[in-house]
């Protein structure tokens, strides 16, 4: 498929799923109500539902999905590993640890994305170091390192929860982080996340060609003229920015970063200049739909969206793992 056509198709899919996300819910609204609410002509309750509940939630879901999709594409390209993503490598767990620590410390809400970024950066840097031991990045090392980092971060999170009595008040916030739920976010929080995801995606596009050169390994990228130290560091920082933004908004959402690049590569090709925007749009669409599913599956109760992505993503992961282990190198 032509890249432009594929990207246009993904854009339409995102617009459609976003509309669906705004329309569907406990209170029925029609497309006309949405237009009226956005233009300021609807009655007060409808306006509140659309502007303050559903729209921010759809935007948050789209940002989280898009950020994780792009982060997954970058990690897979860098590690030459179709099984890498922010969740599996423990990058998300590091970000969650950062978020929980900032909540526990009573930091203002806008600090949380920064703390999440710092946690994500620390864990993705550890993964990179471990993955390079012996000069070869194996599928298995990355997965094992991810398990170790996730367990460690999980232990520290538990420690923080138990040790801090201030946290009694914040248990709800911590739970949000751990179970992976998109709740309605304030305009300020969304604005920060939009800025981070947009900036990081542009940076990722600027790195795209250099990342392509990693197809045959880091050393070959160097012989092709890539300053690999700088490029690798940049990719790790961009990945951490995206993961941090996603985790600060929604907590631990599994497998989106793994499934989306994997599913899109056969359609749009492997070049990151196309894959990155495709994963932004595809990840956003997937998470808006998953969140919609989370809201209506057991309505009026709401599932955390992480439950949906886990249920769908885990079998997919096993499938890819089975295929990859046949060719384990």
């Amino acid at each position: 498929m032509r890249p432009a056509a594929a990207l246009a198709g993904l854009g339409v899919a995102l617009a459609g799923s976003a509309l669906l996300g705004v329309l569907a819910g406990a209170v029925a609204v029609g497309p006309g109500d949405v237009v009226a609410a956005l233009a300021g002509g609807a009655d007060a309750p409808t306006t509140a539902i659309i502007r303050e509940l559903r729209l921010p939630r759809v935007i948050a879901a789209a940002l989280v999905g898009g950020a994780l999709g792009v982060a997954g594409a970058l990690l897979q390209g860098l590690l030459r590993n179709p099984l890498a993503d922010p969740y599996v490598t423990g990058t998300s767990a590091g970000a969650a640890l950062g978020s929980v620590a900032s909540v526990a410390a009573g930091a203002p809400a806008l600090v949380t994305p920064l703390a999440a970024f710092a946690g994500a950066l620390a864990s993705v840097a550890v993964i990179w170091r471990l993955a390079r031991i012996g000069g070869r990045t194996t599928v298995l090392t990355v997965l094992l390192a991810g398990i170790v980092i996730s367990s460690f971060a999980g232990a520290v999170v538990t420690l923080l929860i138990v040790a801090s009595d201030r946290l009694a008040l914040r248990l709800r916030a911590v739970l949000d982080i751990l179970v992976g739920g998109v709740t309605s976010r304030s305009a300020a929080e969304l604005a920060v996340a939009i800025a981070i995801v947009a900036g990081a995606t542009v940076w990722a596009l600027a790195l795209a060609r250099r990342l392509d050169a990693y197809a045959f390994g880091e050393e070959t990228a160097a012989t092709l003229g890539v300053d690999t130290d700088r490029t690798t560091a940049s990719v790790l920082v961009v990945t951490a920015l995206l993961t941090g933004a996603a985790v600060a908004l929604s907590g631990l959402v599994s497998f989106v970063g793994l499934v989306i690049p994997h599913a899109l590569r056969p359609v749009v090709g492997a070049r990151h200049a196309v894959l990155v925007p495709a994963c932004l749009l595809g990840g956003a669409t997937a998470l808006v739909l998953a969140d919609l599913g989370a809201r209506i599956a057991l309505a009026p109760a709401e599932l955390p969206v992480g439950v949906i992505t886990g249920l769908v993503g885990a079998p997919f992961f096993l499938l890819v793992l089975a295929r990859a282990s046949r060719g384990v190198r």
Binding site: P82, A206, D212, A213, T223, L224, G225, V226, P266
Partner: protein
């Protein structure tokens, strides 16, 4: 144009693999042979600036590689890697375009010169029909040719090849090396290829460098290097050299 190693000692961790290697690579095809562990791949990595010598230096036209950026080196020296498998569905043409990485700007598309270089490299390796195919769906030999085309698309005046023929059948081994040799002759490219097949080295290279224990053990035209004495000293008694032939041939003793 010359790429020169001056007393290069290099290795990994505490272990030295190369011990004071002096070697100048000039126009033409030079084969690097030697037993396993002799330091052939390490020599290629040092010559490409990928491995910084512990002592000594590698110079390209008198400039120390350490003073050059990766981008600047990549416009002068291309390396055909041993690894040419990827799990990602790049097309053959996209792989060959990777050879232009050092000449492309981050967010700009390829220019005419880049497209021309890619098509020329595809043509040289007879990959025209495969250009749109996914590289992960090709045979080992086809992938190896695609990676060689990628290096040729770099349009460098030095070409370093680390066992470029391992996955090729005998006819393609010969064809690939003949291509490199002719390119080297025609365009004055300096090519150095690590080879295991002594007969291939003998037939295709104008010069053979023998590495043994991280040192240059012999260096010269095939007839001067592939003698019974030298081959026995380096590879042991299992090989018989037919040195009355031009170029000499090597057979395993039965």
């Amino acid at each position: 144009m010359t790429l020169v190693a001056h007393a290069v000692t290099a290795g990994y961790g505490p272990r030295d693999v190369l011990h004071g290697v002096d070697l100048a690579i000039g126009p033409g095809l030079c084969a690097v042979i030697g037993p396993n562990g002799a330091g052939k791949s390490t020599l290629i990595r040092a010559l490409a600036g990928l491995l910084v010598p512990r002592s000594g230096r590698v110079e390209l036209d008198g400039v120390d590689l350490r003073a050059m950026s990766r981008g600047a080196i990549a416009q002068r020296v291309a390396v055909v890697p041993q690894v040419f498998d990827t799990l990602f569905p790049f097309t053959v043409r996209e792989v060959v375009m990777l050879g232009r990485t050092a000449r492309l700007r981050a967010l700009a598309g390829p220019r005419d010169a880049d497209r021309l270089a890619v098509e020329r490299a595809l043509g040289l390796l007879e990959l025209g029909d495969l250009a749109g195919r996914r590289i992960d769906a090709l045979s080992g030999g086809e992938r190896q040719r695609a990676v060689l085309a990628m290096a040729l698309a770099q349009e460098t005046d030095v070409l370093l090849l680390d066992e470029p023929t391992v996955h090729l059948d005998p006819a393609h081994q010969r064809a690939t090396l003949a291509l490199v040799r002719d390119l080297a002759r025609r365009s004055g490219i300096a090519a150095a290829a690590v080879l295991h097949d002594l007969n291939l080295a003998s037939a295709m290279a104008g010069r053979i460098v023998v590495l043994d224990g991280g040192r240059v053990a012999a260096d010269g035209p095939p007839a001067a290097v592939l003698t019974q004495r030298t081959v026995e000293r380096i590879f042991g008694p299992g090989l018989r050299v037919l040195d009355d032939r031009v170029p000499p041939a090597v057979l395993p003793r039965s």
